[in-house]
Symmetry: C2
Subunit: 616 residues, 2 copies
């Protein structure tokens, strides 16, 4: 596997042995095998301080480097120094780094049957056929990848907890402890998703969080869980969402629901990560007042200050659901007295299924610019890996996991180009010109995908359920709250105060930026406004012409990218996979382009100004 | 089961015992138990002639009735006489009946795993978990229902033969023989669907029909099959359709493909039923020239006269695929030198999933009027039964199986109202007024469903794959060849000689009727023509207003039907199921109505003349 596909740690060829049980041991092992490769005449000394701290200090002078810090910090420092040396970077003479956020989480949506929900790179690395089933070497490889970019929490099962995954915190505790032990030497701690109604599987007739029997069940269960895995980070919960059970069933609010679990976890130092993905998935499409993106804010903001201090609300970056372009979720800016985590989705559910190239760094940068790195205290991301030969489905999808680690470590320094370039150098070690080509493709990929898919923030024009491929009306007459309301004259939903009022959930500056047609970014114009097809954009083009142009340009980009990639000197295995995926991306882009353009042509009756084909 | 739901044989309360192995024995058994119920003082004498003939003669004089005929004919005669007596009909003094068609077939789309493809009434009566698994009593009940209306062939497995169903004619022959023995006393013979590439599972490197090894494999296999089931009717084959293997793979035409199998069957008296459901299911939606309904004609008509005499081409009633309204398939009128069977679909795939009421007799009558009963020599229908408590999903869906039997027996006498009335009388035995209410609902149900669903012959506005519920664009930008091409001005496809030319496949009278806008029936106007929304229909309404009206009227019909059914004196179990289904039909109709109307409102911009709500 490692021989065939290259990751961003090309200087590591030997697996970490199972016998190594501390981060410092692992750090010494990695250093011993890699240093001769990356800098044979250099001397690196490790000075761990015996704590579990994650900071590290790198001091270099001539050929001598010292890495000091906490035990985990020293491991992080080793990976960073090795990567820097491999990339030919100059080491700092004296620099201390520590992560911006204490929790830098990867959420695996793995089901106990081995399937991965929204997974596009094979099957689960943890489960198969209704039980734990894993290769320890493979898990160590994942843990190493995580540690190399500073990721420190793995939630190993799907937030939609389906039978028998609830057993993870019941009779599967010995196995859970074994997995925790595999990850521990890499500084990676486990988290598990739990089912809110879990007590009801054990004779408790309710899951009401205010019911003493429920509280007792969780208190006792947490004792058992922490006896088995003392450093478990805690529980991740998706409650009252898309038919999941939750406190609403019992007339309780989400503070009451979350706090009950948080109190059970608190004696053990555990956290309760509460996902805020609540909306009405039974909406009447005729209803023009209910606006799904407004739901989370309405459900949570009034509870600010009411959560236990070990509760963290985990909020998707946008108010919909990982669409190709969304504004920041407004509830992230409205709960100053609550611990918040942002949730990204590395799995490319709506962004090309790891068939189409889609590097996410630009999205992170834009969202973080609006959010501010101090507004949140943790990050989470839905993982994009699986048991595929190349781990990430598409070799390039690895850049999203790589970059995500660096983003969590320090979002203020997570420059998209630097991330792409470092990853490219580590993975392929091309000439500067070839690297430039690859980096440009990665950096452009997100906006290219956006151009040939759902235009200008419209979202949801995807094949229902599958979420790959164009279906402009696929979610239009459904109960999912996902409408574009295209008609012969106009398209989009007015979400300003004159419409659904969603924009008023933002602080004034953002509210004004989005509400004002002149200042609202083009990419979000149809997210916030209903516009006529003859609306004139800032550059003088009509909306309909802009839609046509974007789609044709998006497709053209794919054609050009294919040509460029075809001549880059990828290793053989990568090349075959990249070009195979590229041909599928091209087919997908052609369909998206023609379907969306024809969809709007049929409504508007407007021909393309450049005479390109549109179809009735 | 029989105690709870009533079928059309209410006078039969005892199961036919397994010991009875001849039709005459069964006839005597049924007569003995039913005659005291339906006419205690009547005397009925049976005079079987010892042959397997299906004709029967009923002579009655006073209280004495004689039923003579072939052994199977006498059984048919007994059921007919019992039904007539139960309904209070006068018996004929001397009347001989024989079926119009020798093969009156029910096609079960049952998979070996027990699932029924497009089945809406539970699971398979024949298979479960990859093997034969049935209750003999239940099969006898099905066979009795078939015999009571003269149906005489059951094809027991899905035309899409999925592993391990190919084993039916391989190592499952002993079980196949057992099932045949269960059906035989009812005059019902078996047929099986086979996989065209079946020899390739047994070391033959090809399935080319001109390859001697393939021919030999089938010749030998037929010997084994007929040794086990000597009266097997033959094989049913779906080849080269929707990714099924077939002769096209080897550059052979369908006469070559079918004749090879026919020759293997011929020494044993077997028939080869060849389904003519071939079209390009990989069409480019941009392609305006290819017209899926034209495909079957193009693939088959030139082969007229080239098929072996034991080949029967089985052709769906319409050229698409069991849509709510289709014209007659033109190939049925274009192959005078070929044996043809028409195929109906009792399973309500596109017509309400046996949730919505949809009695099919009107459709049969219209299609047969265009076809002529002598043009074909057999009938087949996809079954609508399963292991549901009420067998047919909806108690009313039984009328379609009941009526289908009478249709096959004599299509020229299959009056929709007579069928509905007889079925209603046998099933519920209501007062005349209540029976009238029920019969009206049945007779109106088809056009009501049509009104609130896909308008005026447009077809295919259904949820993809599922085929229940509205999705106007669901199949629009796909490869299935199913397009309406709605735009802001017009909708539909011109299928006349000025368009795709499909209409020219009909004989002159039908071609002219459909091609001429004035003579084309309203219900098929959008099947054959592309019309502007402001096109004025014969009654002065515009096309768009007609669409709106139809949809609102269709929904209103459902509301009214619910009220009428609520006060009819159904048995308790029927009532509960009928009203539960009715509430789902109402919800479905509301969605269809509002979605289709809003879809066209968004395109046309035209308000409803009566001010009813339309939604953007």
């Amino acid at each position: 596997m490692r021989d065939e596909f290259r990751y961003w740690l090309p200087f590591l060829t030997k697996d970490v042995p199972a016998e190594l049980t501390s981060p410092v041991d692992v750090a010494r092992f990695e250093l011993a095998q890699a240093l001769p490769v990356v800098a044979a005449d250099m001397k690196v000394e490790l000075q761990p301080d015996g704590t579990a701290s994650e900071f590290f200090t790198v001091r270099s002078e001539g050929d001598t480097v010292t890495i000091s810090g906490g035990d985990v910090g020293v491991l992080y420092g080793v990976y960073r120094v090795l990567m820097a040396l491999y990339c030919g970077e100059k080491l700092p003479s004296d620099q201390t780094q520590q992560p911006k956020y204490a929790l830098r989480m990867v959420n695996c949506w793995d089901n106990a049957d081995g399937d991965i929900e929204r997974g596009y790179s094979g099957r689960s690395l943890f489960f198969d056929d209704g039980m734990f089933d894993y290769e320890p070497e493979r898990l160590r490889m994942m843990a190493r990848m995580m540690a190399s970019v500073g990721l420190n929490v793995a939630c190993i099962n799907n937030v939609n907890v389906r039978n028998p995954a609830h057993r993870l915190i019941e009779d599967w505790l010995p196995e859970l402890a074994e997995v925790a032990a595999i990850f521990r030497p890499f500084g990676v701690k486990l988290m598990v998703s739990i089912d809110y109604s879990q007590p009801m599987r054990h004779g408790v007739p309710t899951a009401d969080p205010l019911d003493e029997r429920v509280q007792n069940w969780w208190n006792e269960q947490c004792k058992l869980v922490y006896a088995a895995v003392p450093d478990l980070v805690g529980f991740l919960v998706k409650a009252d969402s898309e038919h999941r059970p939750g406190p609403f069933t019992y007339g309780r609010n989400h503070a009451e629901g979350a706090n009950m679990l948080a109190r059970a976890l608190k004696p053990h130092g555990g956290k309760l990560i509460w996902r805020c993905f609540v909306y009405n998935c039974q909406q009447d499409w005729r209803d023009q007042k209910t606006d799904r993106p407004a739901a989370a804010y309405n459900h949570y903001v009034y509870l600010d200050g009411q959560f236990e201090d070990n509760v963290i609300l985990q909020v998707k970056n946008g108010p919909f659901d990982f669409q190709v372009r969304e504004p920041l979720s407004p509830m992230l800016l409205a709960m100053p007295k609550t611990s918040l985590a942002i949730e990204w989705q590395l799995a490319q559910e709506y962004t090309g299924h790891q068939i189409d190239i889609y590097a996410m760094m630009g999205m992170w940068q834009e969202v973080m610019a609006d959010l501010g790195s101090d507004t949140i205290m943790a990050m989470a991301a839905v993982s994009n890996w699986g048991d595929d030969a190349c781990v990430y489905g598409h070799p390039f999808a690895a850049v999203n996991m790589f970059g995500y680690g660096l983003l969590c470590w320090n979002p203020d320094a997570a420059d998209p180009e630097a991330i792409a370039r470092t990853w490219a150098k580590l993975t392929y070690n091309f000439s500067k010109a070839d690297e430039d080509t690859l980096v440009d493709i990665l950096l452009e990929s997100r906006c290219a995908y956006e151009k040939y898919t759902s235009p200008l923030g419209l979202c949801w024009m995807v094949t229902p359920h599958v979420h790959y491929g164009a279906s402009p009306d696929g979610y239009e007459y459904t109960a999912w709250g996902t409408y574009h309301r295209a008609s012969r004259d106009a398209v989009g939903i007015d979400r300003t105060s004159s419409g659904t009022g969603y924009a008023d959930q933002y602080p004034a500056a953002l509210r004004d930026r989005y509400s004002n047609l002149e200042t609202c970014p083009d990419e979000l114009k149809l997210w916030f406004h209903r516009l006529r097809y003859d609306y004139v954009m800032a550059d003088g083009r009509t909306l309909i012409q802009r839609i046509y142009d974007d789609h044709f340009e998006g497709y053209d980009w794919v054609v050009a990218a294919e040509e460029k990639l075809a001549v880059l000197p990828f290793p053989e295995a990568d090349k075959a996979l990249i070009m195979e995926r590229m041909s599928r991306q091209k087919k997908n882009a052609r369909e998206w382009c023609d379907i969306v353009n024809s969809f709007f042509y049929r409504f508007s009756g407007v021909e393309d100004a450049k005479g390109r084909p549109l179809y009735i």
